[in-house]
Amino acid sequence: MAAAVVAGGLLAGGCGERAEGPAASPTVRLGAAEVAASTVTGLVPALCQAAAKVGDDPGRAGATFYARAHDVLHTLAAALGEGHRDLQAGLLEAKARVEEALAAPGAPGAGEALVSLAGAAERGLAALALTEGPRSCG
């Protein structure tokens, strides 16, 4: 798993009223939003999967990006606005480059842009103590 959620981060950021640990705490707080932990752990892998697909099937890569990453990227960006403006800017700019690349015929450069976005997402999650740190799409 590219973005293993640190148990401490989940416990600190989760609902708070549950004490059983990550297995019984399916949500994590991202700024003002509360999202499923699986959505957070699945973000970087989804971006890496999209990057891996884009050469053969840009359409599927785009579908993966929009279905599994796009909205949580916005939520992550909003959370980063509370103290990590530089990471927030980098994440949103990387996302915009992906969207621009995916919109072009054949999606040239989308693979590289998706890998870059995965790195920006990892840095953001790490800043919020939600991952162990960058592992990228390796």
Partner: protein, 381 residues
């Protein structure tokens, strides 16, 4: 809400860029009525987070009317108020988005809204809510998302409606639920959203603030004669300050960066102005709404000037374009679309989501206006 800090001394206040915009002498949204400083908005956002947490703690699991998702229910709902600038007054559009905890959007059909007043301060969130208005909200599709808005409803949602609300995982369909709602007092409110989603009745709650007065210009107000940035801006102006998408290349939608609001008003032309930041948008809607305005510009350029005002001079430095600061309270409260008549009066405003039908119905009623660049007809004796 008064501002105890003079300009420049506000903790965390967003600096306004020197864009060459006089912005009509206005120092903030709502013209002579100074807008709430962004640091207050941030503080309110923090309070709402705390309030939401209070709601979670004060109520039981979903089956008891609370928001905490059961471990084994991936379809538990969350609600997020999508309106900006809610204030006391006659019924106005209220927007709320619905999604699951794994970020799947709920779309289509209609849902029931039940409001309650919590108190004048966020800390009053643990008090007994005072019941307020109720309404039925219909789905309002985001332009370009491949969905259609639901028809206007007059009755409550029907449980057996095959076109009712449902999760739209991966379809790209996006939108919010909209209803006309009036609030009779300022302070903190909650909305309980109930709908039959995917065949099962579900509910979610969200808290929000209602202001005593609007901070963003309203229909009937005189439009600020804003000197927004255009393609003719000096080379010293970052291209991304004209359109945030320009940071990765050329400026898209150049037809939206030709006129200034001030110039159009001086020429007696109606204006459709979108205030947005497509790259740095928090609402997810800036790009599609800006694209919609650009598409309408191609067809209705004979009726109005179409203008995109980028919110940020420098996003990372939190420096706002002066033209945006003259109209809206940025940093999370965008996009906005304003329609201004030829007489300089604001005809309509749309926060966050506007549909093509909304704008078309207004554009169709506007008289064809002369383009200031066109030769004027010679008066007949």
């Amino acid at each position: 809400m008064s501002d105890p800090h003079p300009p420049g001394e506000r903790p965390g206040a967003l600096p306004v860029g020197d864009t060459g915009s006089g912005a009509g002498g206005s120092t903030g949204a709502r013209g002579a009525r100074p807008g709430r400083p962004p640091w207050v908005a941030a503080a309110v956002a923090g309070l709402l987070v705390a309030l939401a947490a209070g709601l979670l703690l004060a109520r039981g699991p979903l089956g008891d009317g609370g928001d905490e998702p059961p471990d084994n229910d991936p379809d538990a709902l969350q609600a997020s108020v999508a309106s900006f600038d809610l204030a006391v007054g006659p019924p106005a559009r209220f927007l709320v988005g619905l999604f699951s905890f794994d970020q799947r959007t709920v779309a289509h059909g209609s849902v029931a809204l039940r409001f309650a007043y919590l108190g004048p301060r966020a800390s009053a969130g643990t008090a007994e809510p005072v019941p307020g208005p109720e309404a039925t909200a219909r789905f309002l599709a985001l332009p370009g998302s491949g969905a259609r808005s639901s028809p206007t409803t007059t009755g409550p949602p029907s449980p057996g409606d095959p076109d009712g609300p449902r999760f739209v995982d991966g379809s790209g369909v996006r939108g919010v639920y909209a209803a006309e709602v009036g609030f009779d007092r300022a302070g903190f409110w909650q909305v309980e959203v109930t709908g039959v989603v995917g065949g099962q009745e579900r509910s979610a709650m969200a808290a929000f603030e209602v202001l005593a007065d609007h901070e963003v210009p309203m229909p009937g107000d005189a439009a600020d004669p804003t000197e927004n940035l255009t393609l003719d801006a000096p080379a010293s102006v970052p291209r991304a300050a004209i359109d945030s998408r320009a940071s990765s290349g050329s400026i898209p939608d150049p037809e939206l960066h030709t006129d200034t609001i001030a110039g159009a008003l001086a020429a007696g032309r109606p204006v459709v102005a979108v205030f947005s930041t497509p790259v740095y948008c928090q609402s997810r809607f800036c790009g599609p709404i800006t694209d919609l305005v650009g598409e309408l510009a191609a067809t209705y350029g004979d009726r109005a000037s179409f203008v995109h005002v980028e919110v940020w001079r420098d996003f990372e430095a939190k420096e706002v374009n002066a033209a945006a600061a003259a109209w809206i309270t940025p940093d999370g409260n965008e996009p906005w679309v304003f329609v201004i008549g030829a007489d300089g009066t604001i005809v309509a405003r749309f926060d966050n989501v506007v549909t093509a039908d909304d704008l078309l119905s207004l554009l169709e009623t506007l008289p064809v206006a002369p383009d200031p660049g066109d030769p004027q007809p010679t008066p007949t004796p």
